[in-house]
Amino acid sequence: MTSEVETTRGRPETIRAVPVRHPWRWVAVVVIAVLVAMFAHMLVANPNIHWSVVRKNLFNSLILQGVRMTLELTVISMAVGIVLGVVAAVMRLSRNPIVSGVAWVYVWFFRGTPLLVQIFFWFAFSTFVRNIAFGIPFGPHFDGADSNKVVTLFISGILALALNEGAYMSEIVRAGIVSVDEGQTEAAHALGMTRLQTMWRVVLPQAMRVIIPPTGNEVNSMLKNTSLVSVAGLIDLLAAAQHIYYKNYRIVELLIVASIWYLAMTSAWQIVQYYIERYYGRGSARATPLTPMQRARMLAARGGHYQ
């Protein structure tokens, strides 16, 4: 070889390689497309499914009431469940053996028995619940036997769902807490933060990244599990659909109506979760993706062209 040093060397030509072909991808696309088309055809062209019934009942007032009940049960039970879960998880990690023991027994019991059993249990005790409800100092007063009954049923339902959810959430939160590096706790303590401040300001915000995805699953399960409370006569979305098809026998149509609403709610939650994850992912190594709004703004600014 030569020992001469080339001082001016041209930039090598840009690589234009032939990309790897993926023939099986195309096979898969075709197979899936055919299956989807068959399924869609079965639904749409099936003489036993009356889409007009679906359309008419989608915004039926009983269905809308059911949607509202399902949403209320989900939001309140989930909120209470998350609070219970955080408390139980922090208790589980306490150095005090009695405190951590109580948390352990709570999780053991409420995870170890079927949710349906717990729901029956709380409804059976609903008179007891009523006394508690009326025992709330300065709490709202309810008049009339009927509203009493409904309120009591609702509170029993929340109690059952929230206590059960708290047990599951506590394990999710605990997993999140232990995933945070101990050096974080140490640095916080060295700065003079108390254990509570450390948990609240340093550990939990970091644990959130681990906590949120399984919590998203829990929200989805909760949306659907709320239908279990219909055993006691609370009319949630599924119960509302059932009430209607007991009268008109359009079972499949009303189940489709219910499914559309369930899908709408879980989809809405997915969007919410995306933003929550983004918020808690700040400062993380992986760049946070743009929100749809940001993307739209960027596209507009660049005259409709990426990059």
């Binding site: 590096d181 050096g183 974080q184 140490e186 640095a187 916080a188 303590h189 060295a190 700065l191 003079g192 933060m193 108390t194 254990r195 401040q197 300001r201 340093v202 915000p205 970091q206 808690y280 700040r282 400062g283 993380s284 190594a285």
Partner: protein, 255 residues
Amino acid sequence: MTAPLMVDAQQVHKSFGVNEVLKGIDFQVAPGQVICLLGPSGSGKSTFLRCINHLEKINAGRLYVDGELVGYRQVGDKLHELPEKEVARKRTEIGMVFQHFNLFPHMTALGNIMEAPTRVKGEPKDDVRARAMDLLAKVGLADRARAYPRQLSGGQQQRVAIARALAMRPKLMLFDEPTSALDPELVGDVLAVMRDLARSGMTMIVVTHEIGFAREVADTVVFMDGGVVVESGPPSEVISNPQHTRTQAFLSQVL
């Protein structure tokens, strides 16, 4: 009377289960002094440093910081454990810098520095922000205030960590191998910040393998091995002319 000591350790013992790590440490630091703590891995340097701000409880002996017992209160001849709040309050007077920085990744550099003064001491946000920006300027990172730790190099992170500790206006700074996790070309910036700090009169205890830094900055070099202080004195003696064979062996390895 001698001047009050910043740190006074008398026969400090510390065990983890049956494993005795500190076997009677005697150690004095006067205000304004810079001590470099040397010793082989596992000799108990980190453990001793952590005892000073009560991240570890000592099992025997006495340990005073600025004239006050660490972690306990003496009533008659009995020691009473201090409640958590008291322990936390005393820690605010001692800054600590870790080998792996331990910045809070969900807060910006500025947020990291402002967290403890605002939350722990309850100082007004605007005062703290101004002070934090001064500190960032001092460690050469005024333009990185809004960066998250993962967007900073190791050396930059460690300088933010030093600023975070200084924001509490500590009277004593503890450094546990602050440059060991850094790429060689980043070590210099961190040592420069520490050198400035030493010149400003801060009392510092620095665990380090940077012999050059110890030789230049330390008033006293302490060599630990096997949970005891083997040898201590000015760098000109301990580093340049060690008396003990264990010190000689250690220095010949790291120099």
